[in-house]
């Protein structure tokens, strides 16, 4: 087996990857290590501890894990990711891709255009548009529904940001699934239809087995993005009373508004760990699937 397919030799190969490794070290590894260090100190944005931070060991971690605000923030984040990414974006994105797959022309282009537009607009612009939509006094939604004074962002903060993020990010899932559905041979679907399969059975037995890897990749990407999403800050600022304070906003509020940089760094590191767990779980699922396919292809009976 040839290990040096390009014929570069060890030295030149190293020279090729070195710039990339240096970039990763400077912008990824070093900040991550620095975060771990800061998380062990009582570093603050202002005051005495800003000039002379002291190492306080695991105090930040114990106080974060014991802080009801952190735990509720964690649950809010799980609900936010589950509601807006897994159910909202992936579900709606697939539904749109499925409905539009056989359509051509104006309708498809119009729908795709609108969905894409919500994805490519800058976050702050979108945030203020939605603020104007959901505002209690003079908001567009209240004017449309005839419910003046209904405080969407105060009475249903989590639901508001879930709907917002679903609207915002569906485009990615829709495009990814559209591309995936192109790979499903129409003959398979036709055969299934002839055999009397209804839509649900077609999806379960024909489509999903074929696009499973796309689904997992999509879920991995959007749940990681959503987990680290800061845009809802523009809508609610984490309020009222922390009822939409998902983890990225929690970190911002304690580290920059409250000035507790050490605690903020500790929580950031916890978020990093949670992200790693997420990513590993998805990657395991993906790899398990690939291995199954490989064994099926190699050891399966001749067709």
């Amino acid at each position: 087996m040839i290990t040096d397919a390009a014929g570069l030799g060890r030295a030149r190969a190293t020279a090729f990857v070195l710039p990339a490794l240096v970039l990763i070290a400077v912008f990824l590894v070093f900040p991550a290590l620095w975060t771990i260090y800061l998380g062990l100190t009582d570093y603050r944005l202002t005051g005495l501890q800003a000039a002379n931070p002291q190492v306080v060991g695991l105090d930040n971690y114990t106080s974060a894990l014991g802080d009801p605000r952190f735990l509720s923030s964690l649950w809010l984040t799980v609900a936010y990711v589950g509601g807006s990414a897994v159910i909202g974006q992936a579900g709606l994105g697939f539904a749109l891709a499925w409905v539009l797959r056989t359509r051509r022309g104006t309708v498809r282009r119009l729908v795709e255009g609108v969905v894409l537009l919500s994805w490519i607009l800058p976050s702050t612009v979108v945030g203020f548009l939605w603020f104007a939509l959901l505002d209690r006094d003079g908001g567009t939604l209240n004017a449309l529904l005839g419910t003046p004074g209904f405080a969407w962002l105060l009475d249903h903060p989590l639901l508001s940001i879930i709907v917002f993020n679903t609207w915002r990010g569906t485009a990615f899932s829709m495009m990814l699934y559209s591309a995936a559905l192109e790979n499903v041979p129409p003959s398979h679907l036709e055969t299934a239809r002839l055999a009397g399969a209804n839509v649900f059975q077609q999806l379960r037995d024909v489509v999903f087995p074929l696009i499973r890897r796309h689904v997992l990749t999509n879920l991995l990407l959007i749940s990681l993005w959503t987990f680290n999403d800061f845009t809802p800050f523009v809508l609610t600022g984490g309020g009222p009373e922390g009822r939409s304070e998902i983890l990225p906003i929690y970190v911002y509020n304690i580290a920059l508004r409250g000035g507790e940089l050490g605690l903020g760094a500790a929580v950031s590191f916890l978020i990093l760990l949670i992200n790693l767990v997420f990513a590993l779980a998805y990657l395991r699922l993906l790899r398990g699937r690939r291995r199954q396919e490989a064994t099926a292809a190699a050891g399966g009976p001749p067709a």
Partner: protein
């Protein structure tokens, strides 16, 4: 397509860099930063810097270019930006800060005493003799002068005379106790006023909750937040304050949602201007900068005829600090020098120039306020009866916040206590939670009284 875009982005980036560079070789650039912006927050102060300070200073200092770096955001956001600027040893040369941030900025090494940065000319400045000791205190930490005060303010209750007439309430109105405020609110509500009383609460309003709500009430209950080395914990006075909040917000005399909204304070201003809020506790800033008929952010054309003002009463007559019948709180902004300035001596010249009698007078021409300088106040304050009232009736009974680094964190704990009461907790629960947070902040129960 793509190379064109990248080229355009590069051009933009280069142009953006260009504005920060000296305009010609040998010339010096100084920058002023303030949380004010033309057409928005503290508009008149931004206009004054742009149209008076910069041209006048540049005229007397050839080869010096002065730039203004405006902001128009919440004070907490502005403070975060400044801390990050100073932490990375950059930022403007002359910086506008709230007097209460001086302590924590100094402790962090973000600012240095004026004499250390600006040199020996600082102590000989002519203006010191014109600034009263109490006002100088706004820029002093640990006995050292860190900033030049711009002026001071006082808190009162503003009320809408038209709504008061509608509710059959007396005019002029001066409540003598908290109960009389509640009584007026009840009558106003019966007369159909949507929001009778606005006393700031909650964390969204930040320091405005502490300064306009919790602290004036606490002094009215006879207690200061910090005296003789101890912080006030879950004392009876604190429970009285939270009980007053409960009376307002659980009986529909105030709007609890307004306290939670991200832009609640701005909305409360707009609602007062629209005649939806009848009584609102604010500093004279509200009078001169918010409902000011021309330049205000929520202008009221008929301000002088419609809006009345009254001193904030103690819980009951004689129940305030020092046995007072009425109370207030004062603060004020200061300007500091950036210790990392490349031209510290010149920056001091600019700072001193901005606080000269001529500059102060020109600023007050745009907006009358209580400046730091006695010589200027004597000349201009007669022009506005409201500010004369603050200077003569309110400043003698006022109190200041403790100039300690930990104060802003205590302030947040107070805001959280009011937030809890507004969203339905009992005053006792909120006071106990406040005490727990306070112990963590100030290093144990030994530093807490009551």
């Amino acid at each position: 397509m793509r190379p064109v875009l990248i080229g355009a982005a590069l051009l933009l980036a280069l142009a953006a860099c260009g504005t920060g560079q000296p305009s010609s070789p040998g010339s010096v650039t100084l920058t002023i930063a303030a949380n004010s912006i033309s057409g928005g927050k503290n508009s008149e102060s931004a206009d004054w810097i742009r149209t008076w300070v910069i041209p006048e200073f540049e005229r007397s200092h050839q080869n010096v270019k002065v730039l203004f770096q405006p902001s128009g955001v919440e004070d907490e956001q502005y403070k975060t930006k400044l801390s990050l600027d100073l932490k990375s040893k950059t930022g403007a040369d002359v910086i506008d800060v709230d007097g209460i941030w001086v302590g924590e900025f100094a402790q962090a090494g973000y600012i240095k005493p004026l004499a250390e940065v600006g040199g020996p000319t600082v102590d000989g400045w002519e203006g010191w003799s014109q600034i009263p000791q109490a006002v100088q205190g706004l820029g002093i930490f640990d006995g050292k002068k860190y900033g030049l005060p711009q002026g001071t303010d006082g808190r009162v209750l503003f009320y809408n005379r038209t709504l008061f007439k509608k509710a059959g309430l007396p005019e002029p109105w001066q409540p003598a106790s908290w109960q009389e405020i509640i009584d007026a609110g009840t009558k106003l509500k019966a007369a159909g006023v949507p929001v009778p009383i606005q006393i700031n609460a909650g964390t969204a309003m930040g320091e405005a909750t502490t300064m306009q709500g919790a602290l004036p009430l606490l002094t009215g209950a006879g207690s200061e937040i910090y005296t003789t080395g101890k912080w006030t914990g879950a004392s009876q006075a604190m429970k009285d304050v939270l009980g007053f909040y409960q009376q307002i917000y659980s009986k529909g005399l105030g709007d609890p949602k307004l306290q939670q909204e991200a832009k609640g304070r701005d909305k409360s201003f707009a609602q007062f201007a629209e005649g939806k809020i009848a009584i609102l506790a604010e500093s004279d800033y509200f009078w001169r900068s918010v409902i000011e008929p021309k330049a205000g952010v929520a202008p009221m054309a008929e301000r002088d005829a419609v809006v009345g003002y009254a001193k904030i009463p103690a819980k009951q007559p004689g129940g305030g600090i020092r046995g007072q019948d009425f109370v207030s709180m004062s603060g004020g902004a200061v300007r500091v020098l950036n210790p990392f300035s490349k031209n510290p001596k010149l920056a001091w010249e600019l700072l001193a120039f901005m606080h000269s009698a001529a500059a102060t007078k020109s600023q007050l021409a745009g907006q009358v306020r209580i400046s730091a300088r006695d010589d200027v106040n004597a000349e201009v304050l007669t022009a506005d009866p409201m500010l004369k009232y603050i200077a003569e009736e309110v400043l003698p009974i006022t109190a200041y916040r403790p100039p300690l680094g930990v104060y802003p964190q205590v302030s947040v704990a107070l805001q959280e206590a009011t937030a809890a009461v507004v969203s339905g907790a009992s005053p006792e629960e909120a006071a106990v939670a406040y005490q727990t947070k306070l112990e963590r902040l100030v290093g144990g129960a030994a530093n807490i009284a009551g």
